[in-house]
């Protein structure tokens, strides 16, 4: 398996795709999110695993997103996600609220190839009242217990940023195992990485535990600092100043457009020179 170009990867994502994205503390591919903006993707349906952050907000701001399913949308310390909030207010975005372990459970059901899984809690929450696709049943093992069952969630595409890929297309994500779960649960996985290295991570007992087998990887592209402003394990830290600046710019549509011109379009043009 050999790396493909980042823009070609973005071009392979069809409009309307259901895309699973980890949040800012869990290896989001901000690089691919920016490439999707450049390609002018439309009507994407995003799933936050289990919440949504920076990458989701910029995709919404750029008009790429029709719907979000998530347990929260936030820029963390930098506060509310401005383009999400604006799009919701303007009625331009559909949001389906979940709660964190429900997202994990729906993906794990897909991972295991079962049509549903149960989860405790949730009953009495208005989240359930607004999820006609979630059901309450009597536990088959205790007729006295009511329990929520959640349908398997199969994203079309898992998108995340790994540390590195090897010659076989295996991808190292370290302890961020939720990236593995979304790759398992999704029909395709598009992954950006910092670098490609020779060898086979599966043959190295120290790397194997943090590796996602190439079986699940549809394609990978090299994108240095591809998680930025999110952190990448111990490679680089969270860029709080970058996110804070974005949060300020994103307060208005014009501010976002300017931010986007500089950080999504110009930055790429410079890099391509």
């Amino acid at each position: 398996m050999t790396p493909i170009d980042l823009e070609a990867m973005a071009a392979s994502v069809p409009d309307g795709a259901l895309i699973a994205l980890p949040p800012d503390n869990s290896l989001p591919s901000v690089a691919l999110a920016k490439a999707l903006i450049r390609r002018g993707a439309r009507d994407l349906r995003l799933v936050g695993v289990p919440v949504s952050g920076f990458a989701t907000d910029i995709l919404i701001g750029a008009g790429c997103v029709a719907a979000v399913q998530t347990s929260a949308v936030s820029l963390g310390e930098a506060g509310f996600a401005p383009r999400f909030t604006a799009a919701l207010k303007a009625g331009k975005l559909s949001i389906t609220d979940a709660t964190c372990p429900a997202i994990h459970t729906m993906l794990q059901a897909a991972e295991k190839g079962v049509p549903f899984m149960p989860l405790r809690g949730i009953i009495g929450s208005d989240i359930l009242a607004n999820r006609p696709d979630w059901k309450v049943i009597q536990s088959p093992f205790d007729s006295g217990e009511k329990i929520v069952v959640l349908p398997a969630l199969h994203p079309d595409i898992a998108v995340f940023h790994g540390v590195m890929a090897d010659s076989h297309g295996n991808v190292y994500v370290g302890r961020r195992r939720e990236c593995g779960t979304i790759a398992h649960a999704s029909r395709r996985a598009l992954v950006t990485v910092e670098r490609v290295v020779e060898g086979n991570f599966l043959e190295d007992e120290r790397l194997a535990p943090g590796t996602i087998n190439a079986t699940y990887i549809s394609a990978f592209a090299v994108a240095e600092r591809g998680a930025r402003p999110a952190a990448l394990l111990d490679d680089y830290g969270f860029d709080a100043a970058y996110v804070a600046a974005y949060a300020r710019a994103g307060k208005t549509e014009a501010g976002f457009a300017e931010w986007c011109a500089e950080h999504v379009f110009e930055a790429r043009a410079v890099a391509a020179e």
Partner: protein
């Protein structure tokens, strides 16, 4: 000895932690005051394990972000902290928003894991510094996580207390109501009633929340602050006047 409001709150939370045997507490990132309270309880000798969820180095989880919820499902988390855009008199939490669903008026970030954690942890301490009728309401606009559950719904625990910038409420799941446990220095029962959108019980004389002792303040400003510098530098600088070495 003078102290900051956050120090009073941390000391007050630490007392609630120590009031019940506690093996394991999980703390979210946006919660520097609860984190300070947990570290204070530890430094006071409480044999409790802390899992600080968003700690970058030494993050406790190696099974991905689902591990916190699995751990809690297993019954291994005795205490968790929750807040809310709105909290009502039945301890219902609203992290969704106001106006028509899903928050057409004001949209909050979302429920995070609250609709699960509130049921499955041994107990929850509710914490919200802002104590106003805007936050503490009679009925939340939307319930992201309910304060009590009907029979037949598995529920391991409830709110132990609600700590705000003005007072401490104890929660009584049997009657689904708060009672006023103490008012912070400078506050009165009437003042609290005025600023609270829900009805609550007052059982006899309401004591004042004890001010931090010198010992508690020394721990907070010393070894507690040491532990918190990496994750909460801004908080440590603001509250404890401690700056990161350049």
């Amino acid at each position: 000895m003078s102290y900051r409001p956050e120090e009073l709150l941390a000391v007050t939370l630490a007392k609630l932690i120590r009031a019940v045997p506690t093996r394991h507490i999980a703390v979210g990132a946006a919660s520097p005051v609860p984190a300070a309270a947990c570290w204070l309880a530890v430094k006071q000798g409480e044999p409790v394990r802390l899992s600080l969820l968003h700690k970058r180095t030494g993050n406790p989880f190696t099974e991905g972000t689902r591990e916190l919820f699995d751990l809690t499902g297993q019954g291994r988390v005795d205490l968790f902290f929750l807040g809310g855009g709105q909290i009502d008199g039945q301890a219902n939490l609203n992290l969704i928003g106001t106006g028509e669903w899903p928050g057409r008026e004001v949209r909050f970030p979302g429920s995070f894991g609250s609709a699960f954690m509130y049921f499955m942890t041994g107990r929850t301490i509710l914490f919200r510094e802002e104590h106003s009728p805007r936050v503490l309401v009679d009925k939340v606009a939307h319930i992201s996580a309910p304060g009590i559950s009907e029979p037949g719904v598995y529920r391991r625990g409830h709110a132990q207390a609600l700590v705000t910038g003005r007072c401490v409420f104890a929660f009584h799941p049997d009657r689904g109501r708060f009672s006023l446990a103490s008012v912070h220095p400078g506050e009165t029962v009437e003042g609290v009633r005025e600023m609270t959108g829900f009805a609550f019980d007052v059982d006899g004389e309401v004591p004042q929340t004890p001010a931090p002792t010198e010992e508690e303040l020394a721990l907070l400003r010393g070894s507690v602050c040491d532990e918190m510098m990496e994750t909460y530098p801004e908080f440590c600088s603001r509250v404890f006047d401690r700056k990161l070495a350049a």
